[in-house]
């Protein structure tokens, strides 16, 4: 109990003091996971919309792949991204391994199926007749799509939360492709593991509290947005 209390106090102290190392780690976590989430939204929403609204031969296979991808183990992603980015690997010439970009790539691969899968679900819960209704009111193809996305916006926010939540909290991939390099690729989760291993429980708890707080604040903001939409 004592340990947890000390850790919590330490956490607030670190945050209030604006400890430069902690701030850098926090900022890196936020930006890496934020960019990965953005990229997954950019690609996942159109693909999820397409799978959700159209019928094509390989559709159910594709949907199964996406759903499997939603539960992709971060270490497996870390392993394959490492192999690809390895100096002698197919993308080794990019020299990305052990850089923040490598973490973004790995986290993008983790978040993309989450966004795609939740977008498919969001599109499928819409009344299928709504599309025809919009067409009959003179909506062009892009206007129909835009309106349908608007209709599904509450469920789409769940996709944002799900994707961000899954990448900000993962560790396996960040560790393997980022390397936990101090001041460069160390993020909140990898730092927590390191501090725990070193026996610095107070710092580890402080980092965990920060991680939880970030996740909470972001989800709180998104939920507030979602619920305001729901009760309008």
């Amino acid at each position: 109990m004592e340990l947890i209390w000390q850790g919590t106090v330490q956490a607030f102290w670190l945050i209030l003091r604006g400890d430069p190392e902690v701030m850098r780690i926090m900022w890196l976590s936020l930006s890496v996971s934020g960019i990965a989430t953005m990229l997954s939204l950019l690609l996942g929403i159109p693909i999820g919309t397409a799978i959700g609204l159209t019928r094509f031969p390989a559709r159910s296979l594709m949907l199964s792949l996406v759903n499997t991808g939603m539960g992709l183990p971060p270490v497996v992603v870390g392993l394959f991204v490492s192999i690809f980015l390895w100096r002698s690997g197919p993308l080794g010439f990019l020299h990305l391994l052990y850089t923040p970009s490598a973490i973004v790539i790995a986290q993008f691969i983790l978040a993309f199926p989450v966004v795609t899968g939740l977008t498919v679900a969001a599109m499928q819960q819409l009344d299928p007749r709504l599309r025809m209704q919009l067409q009959s009111l003179g909506a062009s193809r892009s206007q129909v799509l835009w309106q349908l996305l608007r209709e599904a916006r509450l469920a789409m926010l769940a996709a944002v939360m799900g994707a961000f939540g899954s990448v900000i909290s993962e560790i396996g991939a960040s560790m393997m492709v980022g390397g936990n390099i101090l001041g460069y690729t160390r993020v909140l989760t990898t730092a927590t593991v390191l501090e725990t291993a070193k026996g610095n429980f107070d710092v580890a708890i402080a980092l965990s509290v920060i991680l939880l707080s970030i996740t909470f604040v972001i989800n709180w903001a998104l939920t507030a947005m979602q619920q305001r939409g729901a009760h309008r």
């Binding site: 709504l130 025809m132 209704q133 009959s136 916006r153």
Partner: protein
């Protein structure tokens, strides 16, 4: 003749191997309300979707203002922007009532001021102005359908499509909205295609009625023609001729034919010849019944058949009486006359009806 805004020619729609619609020719005249009636699953809504360019027919052509429609995205969009549809489910978007009514105008890229100017009167017209800023999710079924109707009318379309717009509403709500719609349709004189399975809606709103049965248009006529002179046995049943019985023409007397039906003969207006087979159709509300023991007083009723009451079924304001007159003859009488006559099942009665109340259908292939 009034020009046709829309027309279909030799249109077939097949789902898999099943043909759900086969229409040789059907046109929608400028300014008319064409009601499409038929049972559920008859193909009415499919026909509406084909006319509204929301479904591509498997074969055949649809013409708009005389020109065959090319199914290309740009052409379809341009033509659809001259139409508007309301379906059985209001299918509102998750925004305010105003936002929903404004939807089509915004799709057309109208400036906000213009949208506001055009939406307001229609909110008033359908009695939803006071809920303009309410979320569409909080509306009752009737309010939602009013919003959906306003959303279509505000577009001032060349053709308006209404697909069972009252199908999901409770009777009092439906009646209120039906009256409002009838007056709006009269005032705006917009060309309308109205799909319904309800006979009274078809009678009340339609300038012409097209009856669809099993994917085919079996009759297109003025409402009273369809109701008084149905083209086939199925149409006769659909429009409420509950008594349909085969008969054979015995002789001709001037304008009238004497037809043997059941145990007796009746006189009907027809140009059929002796020996011809006919179907005799009679609406239950055109039949008057009296006790068999009471001598017939009415002179205008040339037809009288004796029979025994098989069943009496009270149906709210009217009472249905099924009579065995050698065939099943159905009559509707008022609750009052049911009490006054003290009718009971098994009793002998005389069923009378005018020669003009009888509609005959010539049987094909008969001698």
């Amino acid at each position: 003749m009034t020009p046709e805004v829309l027309a279909v020619r030799d249109v077939t729609v097949t789902y898999g191997r099943r043909a759900v619609l086969q229409v040789g020719r059907l046109g929608v005249r400028s300014g008319e309300v064409l009601t499409i009636v038929g049972h559920n699953g008859a193909g009415k809504s499919t026909l509406l979707r084909v006319l509204a360019l929301l479904e591509v027919p498997t074969r055949g052509t649809v013409s708009f203002a005389g020109a065959p429609v090319q199914y290309r995205p740009a052409t379809l969009l341009a033509l659809r922007r001259r139409m508007a549809s309301v379906f059985q489910a209001p299918l509102l978007c998750d925004t305010t009532v105003f936002g929903n009514v404004a939807l089509g105008l915004r799709f057309r890229g109208l400036p906000a001021r213009e949208v506001e100017r055009r939406v307001r009167p229609w909110l008033e017209r359908f009695g939803i102005a006071r809920m303009a800023s309410r979320s569409a999710r909080t509306l009752s079924g009737g309010e939602a359908q009013r919003t959906s109707l306003a959303r279509a009318f505000v577009l001032e379309p060349d053709v308006l499509f209404l697909d069972e717009p009252f199908g999901a509403l409770d009777p009092p709500t439906r009646e209120g909205l039906l009256l409002d719609l009838a007056s709006v349709l009269r005032e705006s004189a917009v060309t309308t295609v109205f799909v319904t399975h309800d006979r009274s809606e078809a009678l009340m709103l339609g300038d012409r009625v097209a009856v669809v049965m099993e994917g085919r248009v079996v009759q297109v006529d003025a409402p009273d023609r369809v109701f008084s002179a149905p083209a086939t046995e199925e149409v006769a049943r659909f429009v409420g001729a509950d008594t349909i019985v085969p008969g054979v023409v015995r002789e001709r007397r001037d304008e009238l034919c004497v037809v043997a039906v059941g145990n007796g003969t009746i006189e009907v207006h027809s140009d059929a010849l002796p020996g011809d087979s006919l179907l005799v159709c009679l609406r239950p509300e055109d039949v008057v019944i009296a006790r068999a023991s009471v001598p017939s007083a009415s002179t205008s009723m040339r037809n009288a058949l004796l029979g025994k009451i098989r069943r009496i079924i009270p149906l709210g304001v009217v009472v249905r009486v099924d009579i065995d007159a050698g065939f099943e003859l159905r009559a509707f009488i008022s609750k009052q006359s049911w009490h006054d006559l003290h009718l009971a099942e098994g009793e002998e009665v005389r069923a009378s009806f005018k020669t003009t109340a009888v509609h005959v259908i010539r049987r094909h292939g008969a001698s």
